[in-house]
Homo-oligomer: 353 residues x 2
DNA sequence: AAAAATTGCGTTATCGTTACCTAATGATAC
DNA sequence: GTATCATTAGGTAACGATAACGCAATTTTT
């Protein structure tokens, strides 16, 4: 079904049909009705190729995420996925503008946002780690479609949210802790970004798993400065002779693992953390970390870009939430981590008959 | 950069440029050279929208998979993902032709193939469960792009393979067995499709995990007819008093779980199987199954269609292998199974402050 | 009542690519 | 010297959607 066919059926010209379809007025009410009837009856869908050819629309997505080199390269992994998607979609007029910020410095976030909005942006991919500032930024530029990544923001300002359920992630970490350390004792949750939604929810999920189990005593530790956290760990070992496990709610697990190994306490301590960033992978291979929860950062970046593209170029309604599976990584399957990385792929050949 | 611009730079008409770009001859060697130089210098990429508008190409993907209602609905899940992708891509001229077969009947596979190829097909999505027949079919129609799904075929006839590494899956199942049943004893691997590549590789991976562990004795059981397998299980319990775990290498886990519960042996037996099909989900919620490995069937179908589309419509080179992550499902995280299903999504709101 | 503005609709050029149809030019054959 | 052919190249009509423009026929304003 094309505009010309609709025009023929309605006994008008394509110009009139076009004016009806785009609500550009200057059409008699009876004509509008007749045309809309035909459009609905035949379920007319505009030809995407013709439409985009004519409009020669450029679709630029602004990307606001923390510094790529921060957090042990976690954001670089997200950005890898973004780049992969953009590469695939470049011939469909999609491009990006990257703007990094320092998540410990709210002003840098607002600055990044303002800088970005001075460029021509058609959509925004944002990691809403700073809820208030993100809300403020969106209120300042409310007309654009926003995709949230890595972490949800409990509001309906997002077109799509690509993130893992942090509560469930923490809950599952609890289950793994119990499997890996069945005896019970004292267990510690470490948060380095207390105010972050993901952090506190993961901690809540972990506690929730043990809430009815009297054998497991859960302690929480918050840290601010860098050395602070490691020192608190030492203190905990002194206080709790039965300290058997540590759950770090983010990718900083390597910091604490190193200290625990240094203290000679690794043998008695199960360490569970987040994300297969390079240093964590090495730590796991060296036996310093027992379990990692992964949230597939490349996939998140890739998917978020595709959702915005579908909205912007294809005019489709994206899924409101894209839940990221909770991957359990153990030393036994970290070799499969290429499964989690778009840039490598395993070869079937070697295993084949 | 457009064809018109190239033509201007080369001092020829767009018709000539077009003839060069499509190798349609009738151009002087010197002109060809000049035009190709410009094309390379400016890295000319044809406009996808214009190209497809002009060609108004239809891209139909033939889908050959086992009956949707077989294997407890596993293939329906794959097909759900296929449908989701096709829905998104329908406005980009993508459509499918489904052809089901009975994997126990090689002839039905060949018949399905022949039926399919009588229709206008531009690409094929195929589950190569029958290696010889698949090879034969491809050799018969070698010019089309093929995507393999669910299971690899060790040959280079596929444009793209979307599948999980079955060896690693079995290996990880071994690890989970050890975690869930740390005592050791006799453990059984059950295969219902011995000749299937996935089945035998998963079994091999599981055995490999325990290959240097004298505490775990691994026995293999093959079954053909339906009741046969369940009866063999009974026999095994009689023979091995220390039978502590069963690994079923596919989604038929429910069959054996039911029998084991009936025998009153569930308490002493850890049961690990594959795939969150509806019956397995229920079985896990009822405590009949302890661990499932999932291979994200919806994602497989979705991704495979997208890869073929990228090749067919966008003329891009798809990734050769798309490895599917090995998901570990436990009763504690099966509630998150919506994470594995495109059709549901969790709401952040309920958990938010 | 004349001028101005509005309404309703048709016409047409354009986006970049493709494929076909001519039109030159030069070479060869008679 | 003309007819025939091959080679090389230019011209152009689609593909479908869009939006500017044009032109009557009305209605509103002065």
């Amino acid at each position: 079904m094309t505009i010309a066919e609709i025009a023929k059926l309605a006994g008008v010209s394509i110009g009139t049909v076009d004016r009806v379809l785009h609500n550009r007025g200057r059409v008699a009410p009876r004509t509008i009705e007749k045309i809309m009837q035909i459009v609905e009856d035949h379920n007319y869908q505009p030809n995407t190729f013709a439409r985009n050819l004519k409009l020669s629309k450029k679709f630029t997505i602004g990307v606001i995420i923390p510094s790529l080199h921060s957090e042990f390269g976690y954001w670089q992994l997200i950005y890898d996925g973004v780049l992969k998607a953009v590469k695939e979609l470049s011939q469909l007029a999609v491009s990006i503008e990257l703007m990094e910020y320092d998540r410990r410095n709210p002003k840098s976030f607002l600055r990044a946002g303002d800088l970005l909005f001075h460029k021509k942006i058609d959509a925004v991919l944002i990691a809403p780690l700073l809820p208030d500032e993100t809300s403020a930024l969106i209120d300042k530029y409310p007309q654009l479609p926003y995709a949230f990544i890595d972490s949800p923001l409990p509001c309906d300002k997002a077109l799509v949210t690509v993130a893992q359920n942090p509560f469930r992630g923490g809950f599952l970490a609890g289950r793994m802790m119990k499997l890996l350390s069945p005896k019970g004792g004292t267990y510690i949750i470490i948060q380095t970004h207390k105010s972050a939604y993901n952090s506190s929810e993961r901690a809540r999920g972990f506690k929730s798993y043990f809430s009815h189990n009297p054998d497991y005593h859960i302690q929480e530790v918050e840290t601010t400065s860098d050395e602070d956290g490691e020192n608190k760990i030492e203190e905990m070992y002194r206080q709790h002779k039965d300290l058997r496990g540590i759950f770090i709610v983010n990718n900083a697990v390597i910091r604490f693992a190193n200290r625990i190994v240094l203290l000679g306490r690794k043998n008695q301590t199960i360490i569970i953390g987040y994300d297969i960033v390079e240093q964590n992978r090495e730590a796991m291979l060296e036996g310093k970390v027992d379990c990692l929860i992964s949230q597939r950062p490349e996939f998140q970046g890739y998917t978020a870009i595709y959702q915005l593209y579908r909205k912007g170029i294809l005019n489709q309604k994206p899924d409101k939430n894209i839940p990221i599976p909770i991957d359990i990584i153990l030393p036994e399957n970290i070799q499969d981590d290429n499964s989690y990385n778009f840039n490598h792929s395993w070869e079937f050949q070697e295993d084949c008959i």
